[in-house]
Symmetry: D4
C-alpha cells in the first residue's frame, strides 16, 4: 500500500506506481496525513492486508514513522523535496531504535517500489524475473548512451 | 502536561519542571513515545484536561506533531540534542500548514516552560507576576555578572 | 499583533491574516524592523494591548527575540525563506534560556495564526469551535483528495 | 548476511546481532570493503544464499550501494557516525533511481536487524510472533519508565 | 567597548582583551544581553563614547545586530560556539541591508580585537606600529615552527 | 578600494558602489583574483593608498584573506552566492587568529559599503552626517510601508 | 579516460573535454554506472591503458571510489550538482584511508581536466607549455575585465 | 613538498609522512601560512623543484589554493577538522574554474600521500610496485579482520 501525506506528493508516487505497473505488482494508493488525519492513518494500516507500506511525505515527515508504529510489516519511507529537503530526510531516516523505517533517497519513488518488489521477490519468482529484466534494460541503456556520446 | 519521548530526555524535562516549580505552575509528567506507544500518546492527550502540552523528543522527533494531531490545545516542542541535532530540530519545526507546533531551541526545556507560563499568564495574574519577578532576577544577574568581570 | 520585519515578508503575513479572518480573530498588522527601527519595535510592543505577538522575519531574524525582550506575552516567530533559510530558522529558534519564542516552520504564517488561535481558544469557546471546524475541513479535504486519486 | 566496511564498524554490527539473536534469526557476518576489497564484496554477494543484506559503513559509504549493484535481494544500509556524519548518511541514502537501498538511521544497527526481521516475518510466523513480543516489551518499558519518573 | 551577551562568553572575550593589552588599546568591558536586558544594551551603546563596539554572543546571537541598530559606529560581531555553531554564525552574519555588522570567525575574539585595532590604526600611528610588530612576531613564529619540525 | 574576484561578482559590487555614491565616499574598483592573478592582488594592495579594502568573492573565496595577508588596513569580505553559498561564507569568515577579515552577509554589498563608511565616519563628520540621513530614510521607509499595508 | 555515471552528467563532462581539446590532451569518454553497471566499470578500468581517470557523478556518487578500488592510477572525482549537492560532494571526498580520490569542486569539469593535465605535464613539456598559455590567458582576461569595469 | 598551514596540522601531516616513508617517496616538509606568511608560501613554491605539493590546512583553508595560484604542478589539499569542518572542506574544494586543487577527505593525510604516490607511479615502476604491495596488505588485513570477527 502506497500512502501519501498530501495530494502534492502525487508526482513522487507516480514514479512508484509506474515501476509497480511495469513489474506486475498489485498496489493500493491512499492519501492520509499523520498530522491532519491520524485516525485515518491508523485505520488504513490496521485494516490493511498489504505486505509492505510505502509512505511518501515532505516537511516534518512523520508519516512513515507513524505507520511503522502501527504495524510490523516493512515500511519504506520516501522523503519529498521542498525548501529545506533535510527536514523530510531526517524526519524519515532518524527513527528511534525499535521501530524501523527503510528510507530511500529524496523524491525517489522509483527506488521505493523497486525495494518493495525485491522484498516480495524473495518468495515470488515472477517478480524476481521481472526485476532481472528491469535491471538488464537499465544496463543496456547505459551502454547505448555510452555509444551515443562516444560516437559524437 | 509534559510528555517525554523517552526516559533519556529527562534532563531536558527537569529544566522545564524547575521553572514550573518556581512559577507555581501545576504540571503532570509522562513518558510516551510516538513510535513505540502511539495508542498511549493518543490516550494521554485525549483524556487530559491539560491546557498546554510540552513534548520533549530527539532524533526523528514525531512526538510534538503527533500530539498536535490529537488536540487543539497549544503544543510546545523541545528538540533534544544528539549526534545530528538538526534531525530533532526540523522534525519538530517543519509541521505542515494546518497543525501547528511552537518549537523552542535545542534542549531548551526552560523556555518551553516559560512559554507555557506566558500563555497561562494571559488570564492568570499570579503567574504573570511571577514571570515579571523571574525576568527581573535575570536582569539583576546580568548586571551583577557585568560588575564582577569589570572589577577584575 | 502581527509584526513584519520588512514589507517583503507580506506574503507570509497574508497566510496568517487569512487564517485569522476565517477564525474570527481580531488582529492588527505593522511593519517594524528590529535593526532599522528598534525604538519603533519597542514602542509598538510596550504600547500594545495585544495578547499575543506574531513576528515574521528573514535573514538574521532578530525581530521575534527583540519583541520577546520587551514583553511577557507569548511571541510566535515565523522564519521567512531566502538564500540560506537556516539563517532565519536558527535566529528565531535558538533563543537563550529565559526569553522564550515559539517558532513555527519556514514561511508557515498559517501555523503561526493557528497556534495563536489555539492559545486564545483556551478561554474562548467561539474560537475553539472555529478551530474544530477548520481541522474538520482539513480532514475532509484529505479524504476527498484520496478518493480522487484512487478513482483515477 | 551482515557486511561491515571495516572492523571499526563492529560496535554498530553488534546491535544488529543482538536483535537477531533475540528474534532467532540466523545470520552470517563478514568484513568486506567496497573500496579496499571490491572483488571480495562481489564474491560474497554473488555466492551468498542470504535473503537480505545488511551493509554497515561510514565515511563515503559506498558499500550498501555496491552490494545492491550485485544483487536483487533487499539491501539495508546503516550509516556509521564519524566527524561529519552526513557523509555516510547521504552516501547510503541518495542511490540513483533503479538500484535501491533501504537506509536506517545513523549507527542504528538495531533497526537494520528489525527491518530485516520484518521482511522475513512476511512469510515466517515464528519471527512475526517474536517481533510482536519485542515490540510489546518496548511498550511495557515505556510505561514502566513513565511510572518511575511520575512517582519521584 | 566589548559587550558580552552572557558571562559564559568570557573565554572568547579574554582573547580580545589580551590582544588589546598587547597593542595598547584602551577598552571597557560589559555584559548586556539583547534578550534579557534590552534597555541596558541601548543605554550602554547610546551613552558610550567608544569608537568601536565588539559584541560577543552565542545561540541566536542578536546582540551585535541590536547594538548596530543603536549606533553608527562600527560593530564587530563574534559568534560563540555551542551545540549548533551555525546559529550564532548566521544570526550575526546575515544582517539586513542597511545595518551592517562585521563578523569574524567562530570564537575568534583575537581577530575581533585586531580588526578593531586596524580601524583605529588608520589614524593612530602608534597602534599601526604595534600591529606591524604583532604580525612580524606571527611570521617569525611560523618560520621557527617550520624549522623545528624540519629538523626532527 | 573595492576588489572583485571575478567579473561575475559585479552585481554585488554595484550595491556597494551605489551606497558610496550616495554617501559621497570616494572609491576605486578593480578585478583581481586570488587564484588566477595572485601577483596582481598583491601589487594592488601594496601600492594602494586606500584606507579600507572591500573584497567580493564567491566559491572558495580566498580573496579577502589574501588581501588581509598583505595589509594592516581593515578588510571587509562579501561572500557571493552560488550553488552552495556556505563555501563562500566560511572561506571568508573563518580566518585564522592573527589575520582578521570582517565579513558581511551573503551578497550584501550594501552593508560592506556602509560598514566602510562607518569606519571612515569615526574621523569624518560629513560621512557621519550622511550616514545619519541614510538611516533616517530607512526608518521613514519602514513607517511608510507599515502605513500602506495597515490601510489596505 | 573520462567516465560518466549517467548521460545526464554530460554537461559537466563537456567542460573537461573542451579543456583537453584546448591543451591537446587525448582522452576517451564512456558512461558506466557504479550502481547500474558495476562489471562494466571494472572492465573499463582494468582494460584501460589510461594514465588518469576522471569520474563524474551525482547523488550517492560511488563511481570515483569504485574506479579507485580497481586501479592504482590517479582518480579525479567531480561531484555533479542536484537537489542536495552535499550528497555527491561527500560521497566523492570522504574516501577511507588507503584508497585515494582527488576531488574537485561541484560541477567543475574544467578543473578536473586541468588537474589531469598538470599530472601529465610533470613529464610532458608540450602540455606544460599549453598550461602556461592557458593560465596566461586567464590572467589577461582578469586584467581586461578589470579595465572594462573601471572605465565605466 | 608537504606544506602545513600551522604547527597544529602536524598530526595530519604525520599520516602522509608515514605513507611516504613506507613507499620510499622522498619529501620535504615546511610550515607556511597563506594568511600569516604569504611571501614565504610564494617563495617556497616558486623555488621548489617538487613535482607535487600537498597542502594541509584548517579553518578558511586558503593554503592549497594559494599554492595552486603560484604553480602548475599538481596541488593536493587536505582539510583539517575543527569546530565546523565544512569551513576547511569547502575552502579547499570549491576552487574557481582554471586553478585546480585535488582535495582528499577530512584529516586524510594518508590518502594525500597515496594520491601523490599514484601520480609519481605513472612513470616510476618502483613506487608502483610499492603501491601494489600496500594495497595488497590492506586487502589481507580486511580478510584477517573478517576471520577474527566471524570466529568469535
Amino acid at each position: 500500500m502506497i500512502i501519501l501525506g498530501s495530494e502534492t506528493d502525487m508526482e513522487v508516487a507516480e514514479k512508484a506506481m509506474s515501476v509497480f505497473d511495469l513489474l506486475g505488482v498489485d498496489y493500493e494508493i491512499n492519501i492520509a496525513s499523520a498530522h491532519r488525519t491520524p485516525e485515518r492513518v491508523k485505520k488504513l494500516v490496521k485494516d490493511s492486508k498489504a505486505k509492505i507500506f510505502i509512505a511518501i511525505a515532505g516537511l516534518s515527515a512523520a508519516l512513515p514513522g507513524v505507520i511503522a508504529s502501527y504495524t510490523l510489516k516493512p515500511v519504506i519511507g520516501v522523503p519529498v523535496s521542498g525548501k529545506l529537503n533535510i527536514d523530510a530526510v531526517f524526519s524519515i531516516l532518524q527513527m528511534p531504535p525499535g521501530v524501523p523505517v527503510g528510507a530511500v533517497g529524496l523524491d525517489n519513488g522509483q527506488n521505493a517500489a523497486l525495494f518493495a518488489a525485491e522484498i516480495l521477490a524473495i518468495k515470488n519468482k515472477k517478480i524476481d524475473r521481472k526485476l532481472m529484466e528491469y535491471r538488464k534494460r537499465m544496463k543496456d541503456k547505459v551502454i547505448a548512451d555510452s555509444k551515443k556520446i562516444s560516437s559524437n
